[in-house]
Symmetry: C2
Subunit: 375 residues, 2 copies
């Protein structure tokens, strides 16, 4: 999948989780990488991990800056990303510049403003966004495989040269990610729907658990755990991200709240009039929406699931999955849930419809307790 | 874990997933089980699976009814459960009666009303609720292990004799479940918080995806998938459940909507004033709430996680988990996520804090690409 490396000399500003992982991947691919960070100790740590060589920003590296560096990757926290991008465009007048922040519009606007006095900059910058799971942690959490198989969005504007987009796409593929191309605005709309809105909804729901009793929480099932998992994320980082996309997220959150109001009215009608028609319609609309999320590898087929009960001790899950593998069945998805009160676990195996019955029968025959099956 | 069987002759009304699974478990424990269902073919199917012997309700089984049966289990859809419970209390005047519906208050009220003319009935009935995952599917999805390790709530009222509660608790343990005891009101409040509210929130969020573009949905990550999974449930059944608990769920849903409004205001402030203070506070409150959900086996410790990239083909996951097992590490939790665009999967392993570094190092040494680690 990896192309020829598009840039042979890359400078990374910001050696957190993303910057350091990019450095590791590029060094691994034979690129010469230099590193810089506001925190000298963090930059030193990233270098020690093998992500590149530290250059001190305060020292004038005139030659380094003007001639050698072909690409500057800005991987700072989102709050300082626009300023850092502008500074990089000016400090490295021959280099291309990309950033990796989760919101793109604010950066593009600043670059467009700068291009009024310095028209060349718009041709040297393109925004990107690697969607590599959680965005927390410093260089010590960095991994050369962080981007493997993850979507990485490139957000060109009309002024962006095609060769720059192609070169950046090549770099992204070198790091193992999948390239998605859309405008900055489309990107910000997309992440508002698939990431920022769910984050806020999860937080609002989880907040309400603060008033719940211990006895009630003891009945929590996988549904509640799934619904509140992302609420446990880094609230400082998320505040920054959400602030920069507030104008896009706000109408979606308002629309969501109005949808909740519709369900309240339906619930009220079900209670006072005994009619569940609008309630069922509301829930059905949710099921349709959930069905629009693409499945594995972009497909949209739904899978059959099987729940197997295992003893909660080392090796049990491996033994079960070895049996599944021996039956030549590929898992489309799986999850493990623990019983809150007993030393057992529930393994939910998702497989294609055509094999679920055979798998249930074969696992039962091998002595596995199959606690549920649905198609 | 299983006690002496408390009832030697049990009659089950309603042979869907729950009724049939209860029948299978009791027959397995040596109990004599009779079955009845509005649909004769469904009852016959349950009997064929080994859940008991069918009796035809239209035929008068005077002796069967008055003498032999010690317990009637009402396992019908929630809409007809109250009527069926009352009918069972009258048709089997010597027997105890339990039900398994997800809302308890409505049934208790009806039994209390009947006990005004027939005071004995309140001493023969107790409501129960097995929380055995999804509640869909007919007898063909029934499993003898359906209840293993799951919470099963008993909801006595002051009139309920202690011996009846003890006998029903014994039956529940025979079926492998964990007994939780609380009042009907406490139960309905608890499931409103941990189950009914999340269901409605998931539906409202998923509904909003109907307007999203294909390109946006292609960026969906595990967060959105988790948040909308339960929205795909059976909307007819959920409408019934929610209707019966509407008076308890409605104030929670209103409170939730007001919490969303607070986040809207915070987002507005972050946008217009650039201040993220109230936004960060709102997100932090969510993180605190999420932290209140008990972890594995009722504990509340948080685990460290490790993300490992695997090839997406049969046996890979089993090989990985065999390696984890060989390292004598017990998984606290795990989930599998597929890349939307590449033939790889991401396995998130949750383990205790003290082993995560060793596990990361050992798995890397065995050649597994470790894409992330957090404590």
């Amino acid at each position: 999948m990896s192309d020829t490396v598009a840039f042979s000399r890359v400078h990374i500003v910001g050696t957190g989780l993303l910057g350091t992982s990019i450095g590791l991947g590029l060094v691994n691919a034979g690129t010469t990488v230099t590193l810089e960070d506001q925190s000298p100790s963090r930059a030193a740590l990233a270098a020690e991990y093998g992500a590149g060589t530290v250059v001190t920003p305060s020292v004038a590296h005139a030659e380094h800056r003007s001639v050698d560096v072909e690409l500057v990757v800005v991987a700072t926290p989102p709050d300082v990303t626009p300023d850092t991008v502008l500074a990089a465009l000016q400090a490295y007048p021959q280099a291309a510049v990309i950033d990796v922040a989760s919101v793109k519009g604010m950066i593009v606007e600043r670059v467009a403003a700068l291009s009024e006095s310095d028209p060349g900059v718009a041709k040297r910058f393109v925004g990107t966004h690697p969607m590599a799971g959680r965005e927390r942690g410093g260089p010590t959490n960095a991994r050369v495989d962080l981007f493997t198989g993850r979507p990485w969005v490139i957000t060109p504007v009309p002024e962006t040269p095609g060769e720059l987009v192609a070169a950046v796409a090549s770099l992204i593929r070198t790091l193992g990610a999948t390239v998605h191309t859309m405008s900055p605005d489309e990107h910000d709309q997309a992440v508002a729907v698939v990431s920022h809105l769910p984050q806020l909804v999860s937080s609002a729901l989880a907040h309400q658990l603060e008033g719940a009793s211990v006895d009630a929480l003891a009945l929590s099932g996988q549904g509640l755990r799934d619904m509140t998992r992302i609420a446990a994320g880094d609230h400082e980082l998320w505040s920054q991200i959400l602030r920069h996309n507030a104008h896009t997220v706000l109408p979606l959150l308002t629309q969501f709240r109005q949808g909740v109001q519709v369900l309240e009215d339906a619930l009220q009608a079900a209670w006072s009039e005994g009619s569940t028609r609008s309630l069922a319609e509301g829930l059905h609309a949710g099921a349709r929406g959930a069905g629009q999320i693409p499945g594995k590898h972009g497909g949209s087929s739904r899978f059959a699931t099987l729940v197997v009960v295992i003893d909660d001790r080392p090796g049990q899950l491996a033994t079960l999955l070895a049996d599944v593998g021996a039956l030549e069945v590929n898992l489309e998805d799986m999850s493990l849930e623990h019983s809150p009160g007993a030393p057992v676990g529930f393994v939910e195996l998702s497989v294609t419809q055509d094999v679920v019955e055979r798998l249930a029968a074969d696992l039962s025959a091998r002595g596995w307790p199959v606690a549920g099956e649905s198609q």
